[in-house]
Symmetry: C2
Subunit: 396 residues, 2 copies
């Protein structure tokens, strides 16, 4: 990288710690002691793109901020349809619903599809929101273990966990916390099983724009019309564009009756839930006007990944795969002799770095013996945090 | 009023129809034919105050828009506590939760308090959200009829509807759609019944800042500590400040265990639901910096009420009380010989004015034979709409 573009990149991905200490919550800067670096919740340390700030400013200028459309602004829905079409999903704007964040989209999808006595099939490990939303809808959660190290779906593992009660498969792609991008053959198997057993696929793609490896993001609804008609695709704008505080996500279902069920479950038709009009405008700008910003962000993340993975693997007892997607590291730390909670506490107390312990309650039993670290911060901060961790682990 | 301040008021409460036709949804300008004037959803036709626009602009300027605090910004919660304290409610900021609108606050309160087989006691008529959220929580709704014409709570009417299954009383004060501001003796009776029968009071005060008559808004939680400890107070910023599109409301419960239940039910601790940080900033500015704006808005609404009520009462078969609170008119139109649906359709088709028919599904059986009209628009628009209605009714 030439010196000037490096300087520019540094400037752009420099962060303002003082501001973050006032503004960044959910286990992050504003919630930890002043000398602690948080590599915790999956939320970047960077401000939103200028294009997003400008879009909000333009919309708010005339002050008309009354009720938006029940399902979202035409512009928002068209932008999301464009994004989905670009990854091969035949998305029409009128099958897209704006929601109060990706998590609320997941909640609505589960409420629409799952009931008491149903089984929801998902993975182990996986982000707690997938089982949590399934359980809130009354379903029992069945977890399919992923292959340790790679995060691949073992041959036959899903099949043997499908029962007459199974109603849905909940997929997270790219996968949180393993960072794996699911392969075409894995997705095809999921799709075929869904068809065979008449299941709905709830596909959480909140990480779909953070692809760091030389691997293609395949959206399961793009595989065939038969798979598409039983898939609900969910995403949001917090991970990629740094706007978790704006609470904006979406649901797509090509199948009209499935879409209607999700819409009804979402609360939007009765105004009990909905997405802020400013957040929709911000998300529309993110999709339509932030390609260059995103390319720069991904370059930065690749550089951070290249720095962090070897340094974690050099730590005694750590084993860490390079994530193909997401900006999450998920090292196996069992060989350190500490469990995830002890080690996270030690890093907090001695290194003054906060990480997420791989607790069963957050990611499932298979997460035990792992830590989760986010690297969506500046090179300076990440280097400092890794240096502090190295010093503590070196002391043994 | 001196001529210059009149001109200023006119200017301020003039509306931009073109803009509204792009932006104002939920039965309003953007959803009706171009020649139709909507006096429908309870959302004002005016832009938000400059102070609100400025607060949003200032917050967005640095671009840090990551996760806010689970329960809301300190500043938002402190501002809401100040507002509640000003109406006599002993509110601490740490018992206030920011929500995705007042409707979502009501939903969370019902989820926290009501279960299958419980009874929720509310009124007839009343806005559909109170029974709707009760039913979504699994409860059976029992309606206490209000006194026709005045909207008062008839002596003994609540008492005879309380059973062993009654778990909560849902109050709307000022009342939508009657426009009544509940009196101290009515609220004391509700409070005493709640204590006697161990009920929770869910108090929807979304209209509490729109007091037009010479009557005091009494917040039921201000009446006594015993009543306060079983009261959940809910409000939002859409009706008063014109920011329904920002989806921001709050829940207050003085009782810590009740607050914890509502917080858990809200989804905020798991990020499934929450309030946009920009919407919180806008609401904080509304409470702290918009007193003068609000005083001007209330003056305008009083003038519109003074114009509209006599003109509706002069229509053959119409009988309309002046609302003490809200900007809603709720004329009894039974003497016209038409039902609410027929008359609303006729006004739509012939007068090109959209109003809300008093359908049982929206307001309960007692709303039948009524129309609901909003007068939160400019004098010019309201005069035009009333003139068109007068012409149609005069034709008989």
């Amino acid at each position: 990288m030439p010196a000037d573009s490096q300087a520019q990149a540094f400037d752009r991905f420099h962060i303002d710690q003082q501001l973050l200490r006032q503004r960044a919550f959910n286990l992050r800067w504003a919630t930890v002691d002043e000398d602690v670096i948080p590599l915790t919740a999956a939320d970047p340390d960077f401000p939103v793109a200028a294009e997003i700030r400008e879009a909000i400013g333009a919309h708010v200028a005339d002050g008309v901020l009354g009720y938006g459309p029940t399902e979202g602004f035409v512009g928002f829905r068209a932008a999301v349809a464009k994004r989905l079409t670009s990854i091969g999903v035949a998305a029409e704007p009128d099958r897209i619903l704006a929601t109060d964040g990706a998590a609320s989209a997941l909640w609505a999808a589960c409420q629409a599809v799952l009931s008491h006595n149903d089984e929801a099939l998902t993975f182990d490990p996986v982000d707690f929101l997938l089982p949590h939303c399934s359980e809130r809808a009354g379903a029992d959660v069945v977890r399919c273990p992923l292959e340790p190290g790679t995060g691949a779906i073992p041959e036959g593992a899903l099949e043997q966990r499908i029962s007459a009660r199974t109603k849905a498969i909940l997929v997270c792609n790219p996968h949180n916390p393993t960072g794996r991008v699911l392969r075409r053959d894995e997705l095809l198997r999921i799709g075929e099983l869904a068809i065979e057993h008449d299941l709905i696929i709830i596909n959480d793609e909140v990480w779909s724009e953070i692809i760091l490896g030389d691997v293609e993001l395949i959206s399961i609804a793009s595989l065939s019309p038969e798979i598409a008609e039983r898939t609900i695709t969910i995403s949001g704008f917090s991970k990629t564009y740094g706007m978790a505080g704006l609470r904006i996500g979406f649901i797509h279902a090509e199948n009209e009756s499935l879409y209607r069920k999700v819409l009804e479950a979402s609360g939007a038709p009765r105004t009990t839930f909905g997405a802020s009009v400013l957040s929709q405008v911000a998300a529309e700008a993110a999709i339509l006007h932030c390609d260059r910003w995103l390319a720069g962000f991904l370059d930065h993340l690749r550089a951070m990944r290249a720095m962090a993975v070897p340094r974690l693997n050099a730590l005694a007892g750590f084993s860490c795969a390079a994530p193909e997607g997401t900006y999450l590291l998920f090292p196996d730390i069992r060989e350190t002799g500490s469990d995830e909670q002890e080690l996270a506490e030690r890093l907090h107390d001695e290194a003054r770095v906060a990480v997420v312990p791989g607790l069963s309650e957050w990611f499932g039993p298979a997460a035990e013996g792992h830590l989760r670290l986010s690297f969506a911060t500046s090179e300076e901060i990440l280097d400092e945090a890794l240096g502090r961790i190295e010093a503590v682990i070196a002391r043994g």
